[in-house]
Each structure stands twice: as C-alpha cells, then as structure tokens.
Subunit: 224 residues, 2 copies
C-alpha cells in the first residue's frame, strides 16, 4: 500500500508529520512525500525544509492521498495549480483521499467536495462551503472515500481513524500506544467553543493578518 | 528568544515537529533546527529528510533546547557523541532544557538527570533510571529548568506547558486554538495502563525488534 503526502511551499508541518507518524507504523504501508517537483519544500513557518525526492508525476496512483493545510491553500485553491491537478487525477483510483486543516480547500478545488460533508480549520468553514461542501465542526469526517480533518493537530486523529478502517482497531491501537498518544493538553482551549472569547478573537486576528501578508507577499515581521 | 531543536539521523519526526508547531507560534521566538553538521538529516522511519542549515557549533547558547527521541537514542547515549556534548555545554545557560520521548536518555547521558524527576517513552523508564533519574509516568515533568515529555506525541503537551510558563496561559491557549488541539483519538489506548494487554504486548515486541535491528545495523524488512 502506497501512501502519498503531497506538499507545497507553505504547508503546515504538523498537518503532514502528525499523520506521517501514524502511517509510518502501518504494517505493509510505504509513505512517500512528494511535491510539484523533487527538491526542497519549506513549511509555512519557514524553519523546516524538506528534501522531497518524488514529484506528483512520480506518484500518479497512490492508495491513500493526503494533503496538509497552510495559509497559502486558499490561494492555491483559487489558482488550481499542480497539486490540485494531481488530486483530481489521482482521486478516481485511491482507496482514500484525505486532507488535514485547510488542505480540504485543495480537495474542494479539485471538485471532490461538491455535496459532501467535510471539515477544515475552524476559521475556514466558509471557504469550504464555497466549494459546495457541507462544512461540519466534527474533528474527522468520512464521506465515502473522502476523509477530512479539522485544524492541524486533527491529522493525528484522522490517521488513526484511517488506520483502523484499513487494518482494524488492534493495529490502530498499537500505533496509538507506540506514539503514546494519550493527550493531556494543559488547557481545554483547543476548539473555538471551548476557548475564552478574547483568545478566540486574538487567534482570528493573527490568522487574518497572516493571510493578508501571504496575499501581499510580505514576510512576517515576527520571523527572522 | 532562540529555541534550538537538536536533531540526528534516526530522530522521530513527530517528537520534533509537534513542539515546533507550538514554538513557531510563540511571539518573539525564533525556532532553529540544528544537527552535528549542517546538511541532510533523516528521520527514523526513513521517508522524511530535513535540510538542516545550522550545526550545534552555530548554536552554543539557545534559550530553550529541545531534543527529540528515537530508537537510536540508547546507543547515542552510550556513545556520548556530538549531541550529548552539545546538551552538556549548552545547558548551563538555557532557560529550559527539554526532551521528548527517549530524547530524555540524551539529557541523562549529558548528566542532567541525576536525582531529578523525569519521564520518557513508557518502554524506556528503566533506561532513564540508569542515568540516575527518578522515572515517573506523568505526561510532562518539570524539575527545575529541565522539562521532559512522555512518548512522541507528548511533545505537543510539553511545548504548550512551556509556552504558558514563558508567556502566560493566554498565549499558550491561543497557540492551542490556532493548531486546533482539541484531541479526540478514536480509541483510548494511548497509555500502557489503558491499552488492551495484547496490544501492549504487540508494541513491546515490535519496539524490541526495532532496537535489535538498529543495533545490528540491519534495515527494517517492512520498509521499502
């Protein structure tokens, strides 16, 4: 079984690496990172640079396809570039086509979400609806063979859910125990309905500023 | 504030990238990956290759030092190589010295854990005790300025705990909401006390085999 994780400059690192940590322990699975062309891919925070050895062209028919999110996905979805074309072409033969966070917008741009239930980062539900999806606040949504996860860290939950579907609950539980995924966040603020209003307002503002900078092509002043 | 994540061939990807996703959103912090020498570093599952631009020599005095774990750490701890020397030399001037999973064995080899409470992956408590630590089953342990996390995914909880100590709970909660860390694993099997006995036995066997292969220098037959 081949699992392809499709990357692009500006992807969110944990969106990709959370599922990778699960899939890499799935017996018989080969996980491959790929991008428009082989070479260096940089994450959205700028400090993580991956050497990717395979292009989308090299991986036309993965069994499982996963795309991470990132601030840049809204623009990529509008432009309909290489990653959108890859998803569209590969989807008919996948066993599961999956996304984490705003990676769902790329599935949407590829036409996969029309009339489907799906999820994304809590700040991006309205973008998802523009692609014809029924946006839900669930953490992991499976509609047919399309599986979408909420923001960033939800990719771990998606990957475990998928591992159980592919190879049964005992395998998924063994992977969960191997990565000691017994989460104990020090706060209960990980969903908009749970976080204090001022925290929710601060995050909304920071993310809007990040998107505006991305669109203007200006670097984040906080990053050196 | 400089946060250095020290890598080596064979590190576990999520151990490093979980905390990175948190630290990269900490206002005023610069996160830098480093290794013995600049260049390519490959994770323990073999598919993730990082281009690291800084060596340990370039980062002698980070404010926060974090080391991930990996099957190879027991050997690195015995050999006392470059990463152990870096930790030993940098620790006196850090604000916090931290580890995820069996990264704690590297802190131990650097002499940081003698008489301290600390944690590591649940299969490695006995190795931690050999370094003079009092091994505990807590998810995140803070003893003075040394903070250690349990296995793999616990690095996210450690990083949020540290973010709150450095910049207060509102900042940590904003980061948690930004990465939508509202974990909902499909099973409750992430700790040895919670997983079914047969799942625990299977993981113990798989991890012992991985360590034996690492020591013998033979590749994993399941990986292509």
């Amino acid at each position: 079984m081949q699992i392809a994780i499709g990357l692009y400059d500006g992807f969110a690192a944990l969106d990709a690496v959370g599922p990778y940590a699960v899939f890499a322990n799935l017996p018989g699975a080969t996980v491959v990172f790929c991008a428009e062309s082989a070479g260096r891919v940089t994450d959205e925070d700028g400090a993580l640079r991956l050497d990717v050895e395979r292009s989308f062209h090299d991986l036309p028919a993965p069994d499982v396809l996963l795309v991470p999110g990132g601030t840049i996905t809204r623009r990529l979805a509008e432009e309909g570039g290489a990653i959108v074309e890859w998803i569209r072409a590969a989807h008919p033969t996948t066993v599961y086509t999956t996304s984490v966070c705003t990676g769902a917008l790329l599935l949407g741009a590829a036409g996969l979400l029309t009339g489907r239930r799906a999820t994304t980062h809590w700040l991006a539900y309205h973008h998802l609806r523009r692609h014809g999806a029924e946006a839900t606040e669930e953490r992991v949504v499976t509609d047919g063979k399309v599986m979408t996860a909420a923001g960033v860290s939800a990719g771990i939950d998606l990957a475990l859910t998928l591992a159980a579907r592919l190879q049964g609950p005992a395998v998924a539980q063994a992977i969960q125990l191997g990565i000691e995924y017994d989460p104990q966040p020090p706060f209960d603020a990980g969903a908009p309905s749970k976080a204090p209003a001022e925290v929710r307002a601060a995050v909304t503002e920071v993310m809007a500023a990040a998107e505006a900078r991305m669109r203007a092509g200006t670097p984040d002043p906080a990053r050196r």
